[in-house]
Subunit: 217 residues, 2 copies
């Protein structure tokens, strides 16, 4: 396919310059799509996305094979941008979700994009690529939470009889579901306060499960 914006594309004849140009243009489209979704949500066709960010439908299709691929790439890019170096391995599972939810408060469009991806993922026949991406993402998130919960058990801050896999799925589910309820009804739902209840199960630093009278001193 010929680059509709002129010049050779990724499969064109002058790879050196055009590869970089194509990569830059793709990154630019992604960055503008993130802004767009953050403002207006994802309930738009690929054509409408192109129009909103001033890229022809043909050009958009050159960089992204489908609406699904664009949505996935936008979300992936967002995840990389927001990856916090301040979330080291010793941050407890619930605290990690609280921090993530706190960051998401300012970008409801990205939470909407996430909801769109997970809903599309349920329709495996229509959205096989989204299904794979979302399923893998959930596995990655649960595996990360499992490690934090097991670390808590080794440190004695999480009860030893809690199954880490069951708890990881619960924490991820609670975080997702609470953010959705909060977006719909911000006066009625407080994500942080509800997640903090989970700390009774999986306490973080400063809320060890031992009863007060067993502490030294």
């Amino acid at each position: 396919m010929v680059n509709p914006e002129g010049g050779a594309g990724p499969v064109g004849r002058t790879p050196g310059r055009s590869y970089r140009q194509a990569a830059e243009r793709r990154a630019e489209i992604l960055a503008r799509a993130i802004e767009l979704f953050a403002e207006h949500g994802t309930d738009t066709s690929l054509r409408a996305i192109g129009e909103s960010i001033g890229v022809s439908h043909a050009a958009l299709r050159y960089y992204f094979a489908s609406r699904d691929e664009l949505l996935i790439e936008v979300y992936r890019q967002h995840e990389q941008q927001e990856k916090e170096p301040s979330d080291p391995e010793d941050v407890p599972a619930v605290t990690l979700m609280e921090r993530s939810a706190e960051r998401n408060r300012s970008i409801p469009g990205i939470v909407g994009l996430y909801a769109t991806l997970t809903t599309d993922a349920l329709q495996a026949d229509a959205h096989p690529q989204t299904r794979e991406f979302v399923t893998e993402r959930f596995r990655r998130v649960r595996a990360d939470l499992v490690e934090r919960i097991e670390a808590g058990q080794r440190a004695g801050t999480v009860a030893a009889d809690v199954d880490p896999s069951d708890a990881a799925a619960l924490v991820a589910a609670a975080s997702d579901g609470l953010q959705l309820q909060w977006l719909l009804d911000p006066e009625a739902v407080d994500v942080r306060r509800s997640l903090e209840l989970l700390e009774r199960l999986l306490p973080g630093n400063g809320s060890r499960p031992e009863p007060r009278d067993s502490r030294p001193g």
Copy 2:
């Protein structure tokens, strides 16, 4: 609008018979749509829905003003059908969600419909009717859970210092999020086992929070 299937419609001239006919036809379309969603999910246009259930697009538009209205009515109908007389007020909050999730295991299409409605609801401009329906439904679900949690606190089975509103949002969120993860990865996620962890916070019958040695006898 003239009933495209012949005869006077809800606003026609022979209200007695035609009202009933229209109501019956509408109920029939809903019942078939529920079957269809249960099998194939909701990722379909109103036209495709009409074709799949053998109703012309024009006829479908006569009974349902929009795709959103049809999806809402299908979900509402499903909720009425599955309303269990066996869920009296003394069923604890977490048990209620466990029972609902258990029933939903056999109807993944309805869980997909629910996910579609909640995702659409985030796009208030494009789906105002869905936004109102889903927001009101969450309020109703949380209010029901709050009553059960408060009942548990009066009965001494739920810790007195748990905020009922925060806990209600948490339980509803966990249930929604876990069902979604389970649909995507049934081998990796066990909805019941993860929800049972919440019973440590909000115990049901048979798992009172008092330590063993304080029990009589």
